[in-house]
């Protein structure tokens, strides 16, 4: 009779996941939020939720953990502003958030353009272009229909084209290509 395989303690299991995916999740959260500090906070919140889930059920989070982390993060990002509004509007009538930490490097314009998109649209772009997810996978992550993702991506591309003013030669679509591919 074989020994049952030892299930790691929740904090040990999470420590391994954190060591491997923590930095990646923070980066993704920052791009999704357009805000370095808020992104880091939200990535932390994902791990807090993961810990709670593992404490309830040690086998809740299985490898690969990245899809769960990413989906939880995306949903937190989409809820973020509403949660802030809902929780604090009763207390703070004139809400003036502190200035964000400056975005590093030469991509501040891209981060800013991305941040101007509605959260769900932004999440579609980031999952599609940064995470290489298919339309179906993006839809699954966001809990919406694939058609919604296609519409959101089309609109996002239109807005980002206008906003980012890509260099000449880049902007023209290839003949016969419409990029609502999945």
């Amino acid at each position: 009779m074989s020994e049952p395989s030892a299930t790691p303690e929740p904090d040990q299991a999470l420590a391994a996941i954190y060591a491997r995916e923590g930095a990646r999740l923070v980066s993704l959260a920052r791009v999704l939020c357009g805000d370095l500090d808020a992104g880091e906070d939200l990535a932390q919140e994902v791990f807090v939720r993961a810990l709670r889930a593992l404490q309830r059920d040690p086998e809740y989070l299985y490898e690969p953990a990245w899809p769960w982390l990413r989906t939880t993060l995306v949903r937190l990002v989409i809820e973020r502003r509403r949660r802030i509004v809902r929780e604090l509007r009763r207390l703070v009538r004139v809400y003036d958030p502190s200035p964000a930490t400056d975005w590093p490097g030469a991509t501040a314009d891209v981060a800013s353009a991305l941040a101007e998109l509605p959260p769900r649209m932004r999440a579609c772009v980031v999952l599609r272009y940064c995470e290489d997810l298919s339309t179906l996978d993006v839809a699954q992550s966001l809990g919406c229909a694939p058609a919604t993702v296609i519409v959101q991506l089309r609109e996002a591309r239109r807005r980002l084209r206008l906003r980012l003013d890509p260099p000449a030669g880049v902007d023209a679509p290839m003949p016969g290509k419409e990029s609502d591919h999945g």
Binding site: L14, D41, R93, E116, V125
Partner: protein
């Protein structure tokens, strides 16, 4: 992923990849792993934010204490404010706490008190608190208990976010007559005919509840439903993230998008009110009040209400009287004449929610824990 991409897609992917690299390279605060001893102090920004909120709450408290220590709970005081073309303040009712959503009707002005978890009934004639109705058995330390309040013939309706419920108050007895579990966190509500319509932004859902029985009649899928209003024969819902106004047909419960705001940022349209001449929305990005032609799906008329707009937006910052639409900005109540689109304003300190009374007067709550009775002007 590479297949099927056009030149712009490839370029955008490169840009986003570089953005991701920059995000990864930015210094981190090195938040510890949750569960580690230091994790409880892992939210300096949030802690700072809450500290700011608490500071603001203390400031409100000081303002409250300093402005009206005497006569709490209900003794009206004459206002020292001069009347303007927009109107004049008839009476000021001190409240125990700032209020943000109010309703007028069924013989009272109904003001939720989030801190005490009660609903105050104010007599519109004497401008005094005449009843305090317990609503919530438990209250959050921070945040709200109530999200919305409205009246229908013979009832007052209030939503509680503590237990995600809709409560019917009997105005004859000033008691909770029914508590209806919604199964979602309520955002806003409106009354049309024999139904209460409740939006749930987190659940992406709109519920229709029978006024008579409290039974759930319909459950509609609507993205990010926030502000809701009833009038012009339909229910009107704003999808906050996308700035979309949708019409809900009360006969078929069919949802039809009728207008999308041209602006691209979130929470562009933050309030809606429907009346005999159409549907008016508040466009935060453009700082305008817009009358929407719901057939053409376009703005038919609009007026600027530029000035400091309170943020975050409040869904109850718009009201309708016979000849005007009213909105609040941080330092005034603004009247928009529905025919001439001329605006006039009554300076006020931190007005929040507005409700139009049955007699054509207005009630305005403020963040200074006051309820103002306003006689509207004519222009």
């Amino acid at each position: 992923m590479a297949d099927g991409m056009d030149g712009f897609d490839r370029w955008l992917r490169q840009q986003l990849s570089a953005t991701l690299d920059d995000a990864a390279g930015a210094p981190r605060r090195r938040l510890p792993l949750p569960g580690a001893p230091a994790a409880r102090r892992a939210h300096p920004r949030r802690d700072g934010f809450l500290a700011g909120a608490l500071t603001t709450a203390v400031v409100f408290g000081v303002l409250w204490a300093g402005t009206s220590l005497a006569g709490r709970h209900g003794a009206p005081s004459p206002s020292g404010q001069a009347a303007t073309a927009a109107g004049g303040v008839l009476a000021t009712v001190p409240l125990p706490d700032p209020a943000f959503t109010i309703a007028a009707g069924e013989g009272g002005v109904w003001v939720p008190d989030d801190r005490q978890g009660t609903l105050l009934r104010i007599d519109p004639h004497s401008a005094r608190v005449v009843a305090i109705i317990p609503i919530a058995a438990r209250r959050p330390v921070l945040g709200a208990v109530f999200d919305a309040v409205a009246t229908s013939p013979g009832a007052v309706w209030v939503t509680s976010v503590v237990d995600d419920s809709l409560l019917r108050i009997d105005p004859a007895s000033n008691r909770v007559a029914q508590r209806i579990a919604l199964g979602m966190r309520p955002t806003s509500l409106a009354i049309l005919g024999g139904d209460v319509w409740v939006t749930g932004s987190q659940a992406n859902r709109v519920l229709r509840v029978s006024v008579q029985s409290g039974a759930l009649q319909s459950r509609l899928d609507v993205a990010d439903p926030g502000p809701i209003s009833a009038g012009a024969g339909a229910v009107w819902v704003v999808s906050e993230h996308e700035g979309v106004l949708s019409r809900v047909d009360p006969a078929t419960a069919r949802v039809t998008p009728v207008f999308t705001s041209a602006a691209s940022s979130d929470y562009v349209v933050d309030a809606v009110v429907a009346g005999g001449d159409g549907v008016w929305v508040r466009n935060l990005a453009a700082q305008r009040v817009e009358r929407v032609d719901t057939v053409a799906g376009a703005v038919a008329a609009d007026a600027a209400v530029d000035g400091p707009v309170a943020s975050p937006p409040e869904p109850f910052t718009i009201a309708r009287t016979a000849d005007a639409v009213w909105v609040t900005i941080s330092n005034a109540l603004v009247r928009v004449d529905v025919r001439s689109l001329q605006t006039s304003r009554l300076p006020l300190i931190a007005p929040t929610g507005i409700a139009a009374g049955e007699d054509g007067t207005l009630w305005v709550a403020t963040a200074q824990a006051e309820l103002l009775h306003v006689a509207p002007g004519s222009g």
